[in-house]
Every structure is written in structure tokens, then in C-alpha cells.
Point group: C2
Chain length 255, copies 2
DNA sequence: CGGTCGCTTGATAATCGTCAATTGATGTGG
DNA sequence: CCACATCAATTGACGATTATCAAGCGACCG
């Protein structure tokens, strides 16, 4: 993990490490003000932890490249990934209340982040209305996303969860103007399973099934979505997880 | 649903509807400033919806009495309760990003809330640092809670979920200085099941089991916690859901 | 080249959902 | 005031979804 301070005199100059890596759809004027708050960049290798759950909340982090997971540790040793982060996303937003990080933030790949001191952010935000609105929107959006994940974890079957996940990956790409039909998964099957409340084996079977049905082509971590329409059918519950089982369950609803 | 405006000249006077019903642990000076932002009170009957998912985000709501659920509707008709609210809690915080409510807010019992216009809040917050910190902390705390719920939904067994829920109810009471060993559940078994990602039947069995083991006494919706220690054992996974089954599963781990 | 890691696939089984029957509480209209 | 319907809840029997256990394979690395 290598930290590289950004000297104040360079913070408003191009090229700046955050250029083109701020959250999409940000007013040009705001972009300038945000980059001026950046204190350092940090480079991490795969597996390194940027912030530890329970330690002092003193920075927000913007992902510049690579990917991260937010891991929540249970009392007994159970753990759950509650969020994945990709470039242009902001990490650490759940710390404002208790002033500690609420999850571990761990790099899934060699990554670079930009570090924003919480103090600087809070003071900038307190006399800059657009910046305030942006920060509130960011925290609020994370909350909205977490509520959606609650829905996914609590109400959907395994195939539905997988379809939701893939459609979410597409939506992310769309926001950045990227190709939505091909992307690379930054996480292992096990990590994806943790996030979706499933096991590695179930994830593997689901991906195999997607491939077998021609919904997507999957090679290692490379994913090509071939049939968006079928993916939506999966999400609405039109498909079952195929286990090595021979009989079809009856589909009796109100006739 | 009956709305009762609070005329501006009364907003800074006692008695005020919010008195003693603001979030616990708020500096006295802030309490005054918050009450001045209150625009109306709203009374609801059981089952009435205070805010509809997808409609314009124009108020935050403070629960004064009663209780609420936040319901997320899935595309196909599935639905999930993502949060319960009790007096002194703030609802609607996930709307700042997309400017619409992200869940339905439905009264679980006859309730009264206090309505804060988002516009007034945002402008007050932009030139009042303590108020800003309070709002950020509130949104951030909701996010923290949602992440914890993700952990519960994704990583715990049914008995662990139930124990977590009961312990959370206790913690809520503790924050308000109430008795933590007796409380009333404001929701039906089905609603609790939705929140925990379980069915009504499983909830019922779990409550019966808690009673049979002497962990708690349960009469309708009245809960008396008798053995906190056992409840913690439940949370750490020391108990199974007892179905009408006769054989004990083996407990083989790494020896 | 041995070892670990990520992944796949199969066989088996447990947890929890589904279906069903019953009870008590609540409310409604005749 | 009493059928009658409806709803919340309890309990039992059964079974499907998905976890667990196990074996094997390729890739990467020291």
C-alpha cells in the first residue's frame, strides 16, 4: 500500500489523478471543487485493506482504478460482503454517524484510490451548497442501494439474485457510457456468493446454467451478455436453479 | 390521514409536538432549531401509507408515536420490508439522491408523525454546521443499519436472525432509557418474516421455541426477555430451528 | 514440481418454505 | 346479539431449494 500526497499547489492543476474518474454526471464546476479536496492517492495490491472496520473514520475514498469489497465481520467469525465498488464510486460513507468505518475495505485487484480528508469535506460542504447536495445525494444513494440489496437478499431465489447482479453490472457500465454486454467480474465466485447470500458452488452452477441456456457466455471472469431478454425472465423468477435432479417440480398456482 | 399545520409563530414555542420525541442524545441547542423546521403533524390509522415509493421526495418524517414499516416493491409483485421505525426515528432519508421516495412508508398502528419540508431542511443545513452534521449522521446511520441488515439476511440462520432482531429491539429501548426486558412488537408475524427473509410460519415456530426454552415469554405481541445470556447464545449460532424432526445433525468441524 | 487457489461438477442432506387444518380474536351486518 | 367472514397465529406433514461434503482439474507460484 503506497500513499502519494498531492501537494496543495497541484490540486487545482491538470493533469490531476481524479480527472475523468469522478462520479458520472457531475457538473463541471463541481468537478474542480472536488479535485481540490483530494489529499493523496493510495495504491494497493490485491488483498490489501484500505480501511479497517472500527478504526477512526478520517477519509472518504474515491476509486480511481481497480475494485473493492466492503466486508462486514460478524461476532462469531461469519462475514458478509455488503458492497462492491468500481472506479468512480465513493467508499466510506457509512462512517459519519459513529466516526468509525463500519466495514473493511479490501482491494479485489491492484487498485488506486483518491483520499479525501473527512474534515476538509465537512468544512467545504458546510459553505458550499452544491457540494453539500452532492454529498447528501451520495450517502443517500448508498442507502438506496443497500435497501435494494436487502430486497435481493430477503426476497429472491438464487437465479433471480444472479440475474439482478448481472443487470446491475450492466447498469453500472451504462452510467459510464461503456459497452454493457461485456465486462469482467472483479471478484471470485466465493466473494460473489457472499454478497448474494449464496455459496461458491451455487454461483458456479448458476453461471454454468446461464452459459448452457445461451443467456451469457462466461469464460473465467469474462462475461458476455447474449440475451438481455432472457436475463429479465430470470430476474422475474421464470427459471429454477438446475441441480442434478431429474423430476420437474409442479408449478401449481391459483388456476 | 389527517394533516395539522404548525403555524410558524408556534414553531418555537412550548408545548411543541416534537418535545421529548427527537432523536435521543441531541444537544439541547439543536433541539430548538429542529423543532423550528417542523411544518405539520400528520395522524395516520393502521395501514395508511404516509409516502409512496416513486413519488416526489418533499418531506422527511419524524415518528412521534406509533410505528411504521418501509416496504420495497419488486417488479413482479414480491415485496420486502427493509426497515421498521419507532418513535424518535427519522424516515425518508434515502430520497436525497433521486428525489423520490424509495419505499412505501406504512403505519403499523395508529401513529403521529412530524413533517419536515426537505427544502427547509436543506437550506437550514447549508448554513448551520451542527445541523448539517446531525443530518449527515442520520443518513449515514441508516446506511450503517442497512448494511447490518444485509449481513443478517445474507449470513445468519433463522434462529440467529430472530435473536438479532430481539437484541436490536432491546438496544432501541436502551437508547431511550426504557425498560429493555419488556416490549410490544408493533408488527405481525408476517411482517417480521418479511423483514428477516423468513415466512410467517418460521417466525411463529421460533417464538414458540424461545418460549419453550425459557428464553422469553411471549403473549401475542407482548415480549418479555427472560434470559439475555441465552439470547446471545442464539445469536452466535448455538441453537437450531426445531422442526418436527427427530434426529440430531452431527456437529463435525475441524477436530 | 509440489502446493495452494479458484473453479466445476456430483451426491447427499438440512433448513426452511409450502400446503393444510385449526383456533381465537375482531369486526360486520342482518 | 348472534351467525358469518376475515385475519393473525399456531402447529404438523412434506418437500424443494440450496448448503455441505467430496473429488478432480487447471493455473499460478515459490
Amino acid at each position: 500500500m503506497k500513499r502519494q500526497p498531492i501537494p496543495p499547489q497541484f490540486r487545482s492543476h491538470h493533469p490531476h489523478p481524479c480527472d475523468g474518474r469522478l462520479p458520472p454526471g457531475l457538473p463541471a464546476e463541481l468537478q474542480q471543487q472536488v479535485t481540490e479536496l483530494a489529499a493523496s492517492t493510495v495504491e494497493l495490491n490485491r488483498g490489501e485493506t484500505l480501511a479497517h472496520s472500527g478504526t477512526a473514520f478520517d477519509h472518504l475514498y474515491l476509486v480511481l482504478s481497480g475494485a473493492f469489497k466492503a466486508v462486514k465481520l460478524g461476532a462469531d467469525g461469519a462475514s458478509q460482503i455488503v458492497c462492491f465498488y468500481e472506479p468512480r464510486e465513493l467508499m466510506g460513507l457509512s462512517g459519519f454517524s459513529h466516526r468509525v468505518y463500519t466495514t473493511d475495505l479490501v482491494a479485489l485487484a491492484p487498485s488506486v484510490v483518491c483520499e479525501f480528508p473527512v474534515q476538509a469535506i465537512e468544512s467545504a460542504v458546510s459553505h458550499n451548497r452544491p457540494l453539500l447536495d452532492g454529498l447528501l445525494a451520495a450517502v443517500s444513494e448508498s442507502l438506496e442501494r443497500a435497501e435494494l440489496d436487502q430486497f435481493i437478499l430477503g426476497s429472491l431465489t438464487a437465479p433471480q439474485k444472479m440475474a439482478c447482479f448481472l443487470l446491475h453490472m450492466q447498469a453500472r457500465r451504462r452510467r459510464c457510457g461503456d459497452d454493457t454486454h461485456h465486462f469482467e467480474l472483479p471478484m471470485t465466485r466465493e466473494e460473489l456468493g457472499s454478497y448474494l447470500g449464496l455459496t461458491m458452488e451455487t454461483i458456479s452452477r448458476l453461471l454454468s446454467h446461464l452459459q448452457a441456456e445461451g443467456v451469457a457466455q462466461i469464460d473465467k471472469r469474462q462475461v458476455h451478455i447474449l440475451r438481455d431478454d432472457l436475463l429479465h425472465v430470470w430476474r422475474e423468477g421464470g427459471v429454477d436453479l438446475p441441480m442434478p435432479r431429474r423430476k420437474k417440480p409442479q408449478q401449481l398456482k391459483f388456476a
